[in-house]
Amino acid sequence: MPKLFMCLLSVVLLGSKSCSSKALGDFVNLLKTSDKVELFAVEAFPTAAQEQTLDATYVADYKVSEFIPTDPAEATALTLAAVDVKNFDLINVKNCPFMAKYALRFSKGKDRVTMVISPAPCGKARMIFASGAKERSLELTQENNLEAAIQKIVSKPLIK
């Protein structure tokens, strides 16, 4: 694309940016204002409610294999990445099966939104509301900050 066209585009695109932050949906507000962010490693597939056992923990029906502690700075980084529209492809989708690996649970009072992450090569996210009534599929971009933020947390050395 010639640079001149980019200048021209910037002229005709004026006024079209206002929607970008809201393009992800109405859960963004809850994510932005959440008072608690939790990160879990989860199984690849959800378990139906009637098949869940009492000795296991589930997040949005995904069996938790590990709770991953986060400090406030990490929680902020996760939140910022989760609401950044640049991390999501709102047009194109990959034809690959969702294979969950992590879940992010954002809480504000009694409201909860869980973002289940299928990492690359099939980078996708499922937004699951606590009520179970709403769900949204999102496509993660190839070099998204969300997976990077999670990877940074899970790969940090443990102090024993």
Binding site: S10, V11, C19, K22, F45, V93, N95, C96, S137
Partner: protein, 439 residues
């Protein structure tokens, strides 16, 4: 505000439906615009595919009627979070003889929230930016000889091809089916397994299913052969349903069998074969395993073994590895509308005068394939574009399945390239080809 955003998002998709990813083959669009000197222009945009198109621009200036041909290529991208498509004009040539003073080719800019594009012939000067007066896809009813003659001289090959294509040329009309070709008893069996209920890609699968059924129904009608369709979709999207469909398939020796898979695909982490596993689950709660995975190569071999004359098996799905080994030990199986403007001779050459087998899938081992909700799978749309191009009146070469599948693979690759889809990774389809002329 949210409603506005949604409307805007849908408009993006509508624009991009026409736009970068998936420009329909051999479709005609009309664009009208007026320049700063109040000269009115009428353009006929003829699209072969997303990398091959031209526009005839007709206008009156200095009391002369002029027509110019401008070649176009498309570039798609995102800037400031907004999607755009630019059709870059080049190589202007006057078709009319008089008043050839030169013509600055127009570049056409489609934006996410505009139903009419912008035009400019000088990217240096924003004051020259024009907003089109109108832009529309042309229907068959709107195209007649007088309309075409606004843009073409009477001896141009494309004019003659368009006349045939739109049924204006009476000498090309004939009764269907063509009595000179043995079509009696031939059936086109179309089997589509489409994961129309799944959250992420269901809408794109539905779209492809509609496009494919409309296209092949039209083809069978044009050929004067029987048509039978088998749909595995919605809640019935299961491995058992596909197997039952294949078990109940009895093609005759002169029949055509076309199987198209639209859904998720993957490969086991210890898989050797090149062809993907079809993910026959419509719910994320169902775990991937032996009962849900279907080998595309198994489908191909099963269909091939049924004895139909021409067998086409297409898998529009990913071929990327999941972190699960194969549960099968020791065995390695593996908005667009049909316009029906087909050249019957080419259609017959492709479907009636060939025999053999073709297996193709959207991505190489390790790769993902792409789709979008507005248009469908890049591979399926490229297949339909290539099919239309192959059987078009405007194509001079004889119709050939190898050309068609090569164009399908390269079309899907182009749609997934950075210049067209900034967030995509390249998908390089693969195929096995064994089609020969029928004796």
């Amino acid at each position: 505000m949210r409603k506005q955003c949604l409307t805007r998002a849908l408009t993006i998709l509508a624009v991009l439906c026409f736009a970068a990813h998936l420009l329909p083959a051999q479709d005609l669009f009309e664009i009208k615009f007026t320049d700063k000197l109040n000269v009115k222009y009428k353009g006929l945009l003829v699209i072969f595919n997303d990398s091959k198109m031209y526009m005839r621009v007709a206008y009156n200036a200095e009391n002369m009627y002029k027509v110019v041909n401008v070649d176009y290529k498309s570039e798609h991208g995102k800037t400031d979070g907004s999607e755009y498509l630019v059709l870059l004009g080049s190589n202007p040539k006057f078709i009319t003889a008089a008043g050839q003073y030169g013509y600055n080719p127009d570049h056409i800019i489609f934006l996410q929230d505009m139903d009419k594009p912008y035009l400019t012939d000088d990217p240096n000067d924003t004051s020259k930016l024009l907003h089109a007066d109108s832009f529309k896809a042309l229907t068959k009813q709107e195209i007649n000889d007088a309309y075409l003659r606004e843009f073409y001289s009477s001896n141009e090959p494309d004019y003659l091809a368009l006349r045939k294509m739109f049924g204006i040329d009476l000498s090309t009309l004939r009764l269907k089916p063509n009595v000179n070709t043995n079509t009696t008893g031939t059936t086109l069996h179309l089997i589509i397994a489409a994961n129309t209920s799944i959250g992420d890609i269901g809408m794109s699968c539905s779209r492809d299913q509609s496009s494919l059924t409309a296209e092949f129904k039209g083809i069978a009608s044009s050929l004067g052969i029987s048509y039978k369709q088998y749909l595995v979709n919605g809640d019935n999207f299961t491995k058992a349903a596909v197997q039952n469909t294949l078990n109940g398939l009895y093609p005759g020796s002169n029949d055509i069998v076309i199987f198209v898979y639209r859904g998720h695909g993957f490969r086991w982490n210890n898989q050797q074969g090149a062809w993907p596993q079809l993910d026959m689950r419509s719910s994320p709660y169902t775990r991937i395993g032996e009962n849900t995975a279907l080998d595309l190569d198994y489908v191909f071999k099963t269909i091939k073994g049924k004895g139909g004359r021409l067998n086409i098996v297409l898998g529009d799905c990913c071929n990327s590895t999941i972190d699960i080994p194969s549960p099968l030990t020791g065995s390695e199986f593996l908005a667009m509308q049909a316009n029906n403007n087909y050249n019957d001779d080419k259609l017959r050459a492709l479907f009636m005068n060939t025999k053999g087998n073709l297996l193709a899938t959207a991505a190489s081992p390790g790769e993902v394939s792409w789709a979008n909700n507005a248009n469908g799978g890049f591979f399926t749309v490229s297949f339909l574009q290539s099919l239309r191009e192959e059987i078009s009146y405007m194509r001079e070469d004889p119709a050939d399945w190898r050309d068609l599948i090569n164009n399908t693979v390269s079309g899907a690759r182009r749609k997934s390239s950075k210049g067209v889809c900034s967030n995509c990774t390249l998908q390089n389809g693969i195929y096995h080809y064994d089609v020969t002329p029928k004796n």
